[in-house]
C-alpha cells in the first residue's frame, strides 16, 4: 500500500490527500502474468501501484514487475489516444481529423455493410491480442464477430506462440506447469528460455526455491549469456539452430547408458505401438481382427502376442511387458505384413553416429563430455524439468526440435510430478475455463482464418480444407490491442493491408499499427475496465476492476463491440444484452470443473484458487487420473483434438502422409537454414530477437519511464565480429540482408556468441536510427505438416522468424 506522505527531509509537509481509494485489481498484458496490484487513487488519478501480495498461498507473493509498475506512464503517457480519429491523408501519412464517437461509429459500420454486401461479411477479419488475457473484453469482440459473421484470426499462431512440436506430440499446443512447480526441481534446463526477463514474477521459484533451497542445478542453453544465465550453474552457448541435434544427442546418451524408464514409456507413449512396413501407418486393432479402427495394438512379451491398448484410460494391467524392439509379421487381409515398434524406428535413427556426442559437439559447439553429463544429470538428479523458450520454436523446424526435446524428457519419464515437466510458456492459450457460452452465442463460432494466409496473399495449395478462406479475400481488417506492424512480417502485412477497404485499429497508445489505420478508436488500458483474468503461471482466477473510469475519450472493447452490432445488424442486439459482470457470471456458471462453485462475489474480494492440483505439474489429468492424452484445449469441445492424436498417448510417430512425404514421421534433426534461398543462406550471421526486459512485446516501447533506462535500440555483437567490420561500441550500424535493412546502434559485448547478433524484439520504428524494424526478416512460409489438420491456435501454422540470416556494417 502506498503512503501519501512527502519524502522525509522536507519540513513543510504537504497536507495529506483527501479522497483516497485503494483498489485491488489485476493487470492483463500479453506477458500473461496476471499479477495482482493495489492501486492508490486520489481524485480519480492513479498515483501508485504496488504488488497486492495477497495470494492465499504465500509462495506466490509478491507478483509484479517493472513493466506493470510503470503503467502510470502509459495510462497518462504522451501517446495516449484521446478520441476517435479518421484518416484524411494516405495510409500512414499521419494526417488525421478528430472525430466524435458517433461519427466514427457511423463510418465503420457503413464500410462494414458495404463489405458485407459486396463480398460477404466473412471478408472482414478480426485480429485481437490476446484473447486469453481478458475473457470478457476480448471475448466481447469475438462474440461480435460470431454474431455478425466476421472472420477471426487467432493471434496465438500468428505470434509464433503455437508450438506445433507439442501439438504433434501431446495433442495440445503447449504444456505449462505452474511456475511454483519449478521450486521442486533438482535439475532445470532452460532451453533458450530467459525467464528472469520474461517471467519476472515467477523467477523466484528458480532462485529462491529451486536454487536456494534445493541447490538445484540450473543449465541455460542460449547463444547469449542472457540475464537468466546470471542465475545458472552452466551456460551452454549453443550454435543457433542446432538445438534439435543436441536434444537427439542427449537421447543418444540416455539410450546408450540404459537410463530409459520403460514402465513410463509403456503407459504414456506410443513407443510400443507397431508401424506397418507396407504403408507406414500404425497397426490398428481392426487390421488384425482384434477390435476397432480407433484402437491400437502392441506386442506383449508376457502373452507373447498382440495386446490392444485401452482407449478409455491410460491404466494398464500389471502383467504386461511391451516389446519395444523387434520386427514381427502379422496377417492383414491375408497378407503377411512386417510391423515394428515406434521405439525401434527411433532407436535406429537416434543411435546413428551423427547423433553421438562426439559428432554433435562439433556442430552444436558443446563438448561431448558436457552433453553426456547433462543427459545423466537430467536422468538421475530428479526432479528434472525443461523450460523451452521461443527461440527454439520460432524456426521452420522448431516442431522437430521440440519433438526431440520432448523425447529426451520422456525417455527418462520426467513428466507429471512436482518439478518434473517440459513446459513452454508461450502466450496464453491455456484458457483456465470454458469461455464458449460468452464467446460463441448459441454455439455459433466465427469463421477462423489464420492470419498467415492473409499475409501471404491467400491460401496455399496445401491449405487445410476446414479453413474457409473468404472467396473474395480479406477486404476489411479490425485490429485490437495488437501491433502487427512491428512484428516480423510487417512488410508483407502492410502490403496485404493495402488491398483492404477498411482498416480499423483499437488501442490506447498511438502505435505504428494505429498510424497505418483508416480509423483509430481509443480504448482504455486494463486499469480502466472490468474483466476476468486467468493465467497458466499461477492457479488464481482474478477480477480486473475499473480502478478509474475509461480515461480521456476512450471506450471499452465491450462497449465498442455492442455499438457495432447495434449499427451493423440490430437484430443481433438481443444477444448482446449483457454487462461485463453478467458475462463473468455466465462464464463462471458454464466454465467447467475448474471454476465450479466460484462466484463473482468471491472474485470481487480477491484472487480465488481454481479447482486444480497443487502444484499443477502440466498434464495433471493424464498423470493423476490416467485420462488419455490430450488435455482438453478450451474453448473447443472434448474430443476435438483426437483426430491429430489418435492413440491417446504421447506420439513420437506421426503416420499421416504429409509427415511421410517430408520424412518427419519421427523426430529427426534438420539443419535450420536449409529451407532458405541460397542468397539468404550465405549471409554470415544469425540474428536472435528475444523479448525485452523493458517491454511486453511492443507495449511499453514508448513508456517514457522505461525509455529512461533503456534509451536506444542496440544490436549486441561479439567483439570479434565487431572488429572484423570496424565497428566500435556505440557506433551507428546497419543490419541488412537480401530482404531489407534497418539502422540502430552497436553494443559490443562478450556476452554473445561470435556469429550471432541480438536485437530486442518489438522496438517501434521511430526509435530506430533508420528504417523499419524487422525489415530483414525472412518470408512467411508454412510447413505442409502444419496444415494436415486445423483447430484454431491448437493445430495451425507456426512461425520461423529466428531462421533469418543477416550481416551488419558500420554507417559512416
Amino acid at each position: 500500500m502506498a503512503t501519501r506522505h512527502a519524502v522525509p527531509g522536507r519540513f513543510s509537509k504537504p497536507k495529506p490527500d483527501e479522497n483516497v481509494r485503494v483498489v485491488r485489481t489485476t493487470d492483463s498484458p500479453n506477458c500473461t502474468g496476471a499479477c495482482g496490484w493495489l492501486a492508490t487513487v486520489v481524485n480519480d488519478v492513479i498515483v501508485d501501484l504496488k504488488p497486492a501480495a495477497d495470494y492465499p498461498c504465500e509462495a506466490y507473493n509478491p507478483r509484479g514487475c517493472l513493466r506493470g509498475m510503470s503503467m502510470t506512464h502509459l495510462i497518462y503517457g504522451p501517446d495516449r489516444i484521446k478520441q476517435p480519429r479518421i484518416r484524411i491523408g494516405a495510409r500512414g501519412e499521419g494526417k488525421w481529423r478528430d472525430a466524435s464517437w458517433d461519427e466514427a461509429l457511423d463510418f465503420i459500420p457503413d464500410k462494414m455493410i458495404a463489405i458485407r454486401d459486396n463480398y460477404g461479411m466473412e471478408s472482414m477479419l478480426l485480429f485481437n491480442q490476446v484473447v486469453g488475457t481478458g475473457y470478457v473484453q476480448k471475448g466481447a469482440q469475438v462474440r461480435m464477430a460470431s454474431l455478425l459473421g466476421l472472420s477471426f484470426a487467432t493471434a496465438y499462431d500468428f505470434n509464433g506462440d503455437i508450438s506445433m512440436g507439442f501439438t504433434q506430440t501431446v495433442g495440445i499446443d503447449c504444456v505449462e506447469c505452474e511456475t511454483k512447480s519449478w521450486g521442486h526441481c533438482k535439475t532445470v534446463i532452460l532451453w533458450s528460455s530467459n525467464v528472469f526477463q520474461t517471467r519476472i514474477p515467477d523467477a523466484k521459484f528458480l532462485t529462491k526455491h529451486a536454487k536456494q533451497q534445493n541447490n538445484c542445478q540450473i543449465v541455460c542453453i542460449d547463444p547469449r549469456c542472457s540475464q537468466t544465465a546470471k542465475g545458472a550453474d552452466l551456460w551452454l552457448p549453443i550454435h543457433p539452430g542446432t538445438d534439435g541435434l543436441l536434444a537427439l544427442s542427449l537421447c543418444h546418451v540416455i539410450i546408450n547408458e540404459q537410463l530409459v524408464d520403460w514402465k513410463f514409456l509403456e503407459k504414456y507413449t506410443d513407443l510400443a505401438t507397431l508401424i506397418r512396413e507396407d504403408n507406414g501407418q500404425r497397426l490398428r486393432a481392426s487390421d488384425v481382427g482384434l477390435g476397432e479402427e480407433a484402437e491400437f495394438v502392441v506386442w506383449d512379451e508376457v502373452r507373447d502376442g498382440l495386446f490392444v491398448l485401452p482407449m478409455d484410460s491410460l491404466k494398464l494391467p500389471d502383467n504386461v511387458r511391451f516389446a519395444f524392439n523387434g520386427t514381427r509379421e502379422v496377417e492383414i487381409e491375408g497378407k503377411r505384413v512386417r510391423v515394428t515398434p515406434v521405439y525401434d524406428l527411433l532407436e535406429d535413427e537416434v543411435m546413428q553416429p551423427r547423433y553421438s556426442p562426439e559428432e554433435a559437439a562439433s556442430l552444436t559447439d558443446i563438448p561431448a563430455e558436457t552433453i553426456r553429463k547433462l543427459a545423466r544429470d537430467f536422468a538421475l538428479q530428479r526432479p528434472s524439468s525443461i523450460v523451452i523458450g521461443m527461440g527454439v520454436n520460432h524456426r521452420l523446424h522448431g516442431d522437430l526440435t521440440i519433438r526431440s526435446i520432448l523425447l529426451f524428457a520422456t525417455l527418462v519419464g520426467a513428466h507429471g510430478k512436482p518439478g518434473e515437466s517440459v513446459s513452454i510458456y508461450s502466450g496464453q492459450h491455456h484458457f483456465r475455463l470454458d469461455v464458449s457460452s460468452w464467446w460463441f452465442p448459441n454455439g455459433k463460432r466465427p469463421n477462423s482464418v489464420p492470419m498467415h494466409y492473409f499475409v501471404i496473399g491467400g491460401p496455399t495449395e496445401t491449405i487445410n480444407a476446414k479453413i474457409k478462406y473468404p472467396k473474395h479475400g480479406i477486404k476489411g481488417l479490425m485490429v485490437s490491442h495488437a501491433n502487427p506492424l512491428v512484428t516480423e512480417f510487417s512488410g508483407p502485412l502492410r502490403k496485404a493491408i493495402d488491398d483492404t477497404e477498411l482498416f480499423v485499429a483499437i488501442d490506447f497508445s498511438m502505435s505504428p499499427t494505429c498510424e497505418y489505420a483508416d480509423v483509430v478508436l481509443p480504448a482504455p488500458t486494463f486499469w480502466e475496465k472490468v474483466d476476468l483474468v486467468g493465467t497458466s503461471c499461477h492457479p488464481y482466477l482474478q477480477m480486473q476492476q475499473e480502478v478509474v473510469p475509461p480515461q480521456y475519450g476512450s471506450r471499452t472493447e465491450f462497449w465498442i463491440a455492442k455499438e457495432l452490432v447495434r449499427r451493423v445488424d440490430p437484430t443481433k442486439l438481443k444477444d448482446f444484452d449483457f454487462t461485463e459482470k453478467d458475462a463473468i457470471q455466465l462464464m463462471l456458471s458454464t466454465g467447467g470443473k475448474e471454476v465450479e462453485g466460484i462466484t463473482l462475489q468471491q472474485l470481487e474480494c480477491g484472487p480465488v484458487r481454481l479447482k486444480v492440483h497443487d502444484p499443477e505439474c502440466g498434464l495433471d489429468e493424464q498423470f493423476h487420473e490416467d485420462k488419455l492424452f490430450p488435455p482438453r484445449a478450451y474453448p473447443f469441445p472434448e474430443g476435438a483434438q483426437r483426430e491429430f492424436l489418435k492413440t491417446g498417448r504421447m506420439e513420437f510417430y506421426k503416420e499421416e502422409e504429409s509427415y511421410q512425404r517430408l520424412g518427419e514421421t519421427i523426430p529427426i534433426y534438420r539443419p535450420a537454414f536449409e529451407h532458405l534461398p541460397e542468397d539468404d543462406q550465405r549471409m554470415p550471421l544469425s540474428i536472435v530477437t528475444p523479448h525485452s526486459k523493458w517491454r511486453v512485446h511492443s507495449t511499453h516501447s514508448n513508456n517514457p519511464l522505461l525509455l529512461n533506462l533503456n534509451r536506444k535500440p542496440v544490436v549486441e555483437i561479439n567483439p570479434k565480429d565487431a572488429a572484423r567490420r570496424g565497428i566500435r561500441d556505440g557506433d551507428q550500424v546497419e543490419i541488412f540482408n537480401n530482404n531489407g535493412s534497418y539502422q540502430l546502434w552497436a553494443l559490443v559485448t562478450e556476452a554473445i556468441k561470435p556469429g550471432v547478433l541480438c536485437v530486442d524484439h518489438a522496438w517501434w520504428d521511430r526509435y530506430l536510427a533508420n528504417g523499419k524494424y524487422h525489415a530483414v526478416h525472412t518470408h512467411q512460409k508454412i510447413k505442409p505438416t502444419h496444415e494436415t489438420y486445423f483447430l484454431p491456435a491448437v493445430y495451425a501454422p507456426g512461425q520461423h522468424w529466428k531462421d533469418t540470416r543477416v550481416d551488419v556494417r558500420k554507417v559512416n
Partner: protein, 232 residues
C-alpha cells in the same frame, strides 16, 4: 533503538529493475535520477563471461562521509540509523555528492526534467511535489514508510524477495533471522561494498550460489558453418 539495514541476496536477485521503478514511483524522482539502481556488469571474455547484477542504493553508513562533508549541516543520521538529507536545509553545494564513495547521492543543477506532458495531473499534482528541485537527493530507506510500519518500496516490490529490510538490533527481526539461517543453511555470510572506505555501511549483501560456468569447444574450435548453409 533500532538499527535498520537492508540485505540484498544476490542469489535471489534476477536483475529485473523492479526496485528501481518502485523507488521512482515512491519518491517521485525526475528524469535521470535513480535512488535504487541495478548495476549490470559483464565480467570476463567470451565464453568465460558472467553477468553480474548488483543493486545499489544509499548505504546509510554509520560513519557517513556525506554527513561530515555538508557545509549546511543538512544531513543527519536518525537514531535508527537512517541517514536523511534535509531538503529544506540543503543549498545544493554538492559536497555530499563528492564525499559519497558509492555515488549514491544525486544533485541536478539544471531544472528537473520529467516524463509526461506538463498538464497531466498525475505528474503535476502528485509526483513533482515529492522532492525539492535543485537539492541533493538520495534514498531514505523510505523512512516515511518505515515510520508507518511499512517496508521500503523497493523491498515490497521485489518480485523475488531478494531485499530484506529490518532491525539488526532485534535478533528476531526478519533480517537477523535471515542472516543466521543463511549462515547455517547455505554457508553464506553477509558482506559489504567497499569496506576499505571505512564508512561502516548499513547495507549488505549475500553472494551468488550459482556456479556461472560455461562450456564450449573453446577458443581452438573453428566457428562452424551455419547448419543448412550449402557451401557454394
Amino acid at each position: 533503538m533500532a538499527r535498520y539495514s537492508m540485505l540484498i541476496d544476490l542469489t535471489r536477485c534476477i536483475g529485473c529493475d523492479a526496485c528501481t521503478l518502485a523507488c521512482k514511483q515512491e519518491n517521485g524522482t525526475p528524469l535521470d535520477v535513480f535512488f535504487a539502481r541495478v548495476l549490470n556488469v559483464e565480467v570476463g571474455e567470451y565464453p568465460n563471461v558472467k553477468r553480474v547484477y548488483i543493486p545499489v542504493l544509499c548505504n546509510h553508513c554509520e560513519d557517513a562521509p556525506c554527513l561530515k562533508s555538508c557545509p549546511n549541516k543538512a544531513i543527519v543520521r536518525r537514531p535508527d540509523g537512517i541517514v536523511i538529507l534535509d531538503q529544506d536545509r540543503c543549498r545544493g553545494t554538492g559536497a555530499c555528492v563528492s564525499a559519497c564513495p558509492y555515488g549514491n547521492i544525486y544533485l541536478t543543477r539544471v531544472d528537473d526534467r520529467w516524463y509526461l506532458n506538463s498538464d497531466e495531473p498525475y505528474e503535476r499534482d502528485f509526483v513533482k511535489k515529492r522532492l525539492e528541485p535543485q537539492r541533493a537527493r538520495k534514498c531514505t530507506y523510505c523512512a516515511h514508510r518505515v515510520d508507518e510500519g511499512l517496508d521500503p518500496a523497493c523491498v515490497v516490490a521485489c518480485p523475488t524477495t531478494a531485499r530484506i529490510f529490518g532491525d539488526l538490533d532485534d535478533p528476531d527481526s526478519v533480517i537477523s533471522t535471515y542472516i543466521d539461517e543463511q549462515r547455517e543453511q547455505t554457508g553464506r555470510k553477509p558482506f559489504k561494498l567497499l569496506p576499505q572506505a571505512g564508512t561502516k555501511p548499513a547495507g549488505m549483501y549475500l553472494g551468488v550460489m550459482a556456479d556461472q560456468a560455461s562450456s564450449t569447444l573453446g577458443e581452438d574450435a573453428p566457428v562452424p558453418l551455419p547448419q543448412g548453409v550449402r557451401t557454394p
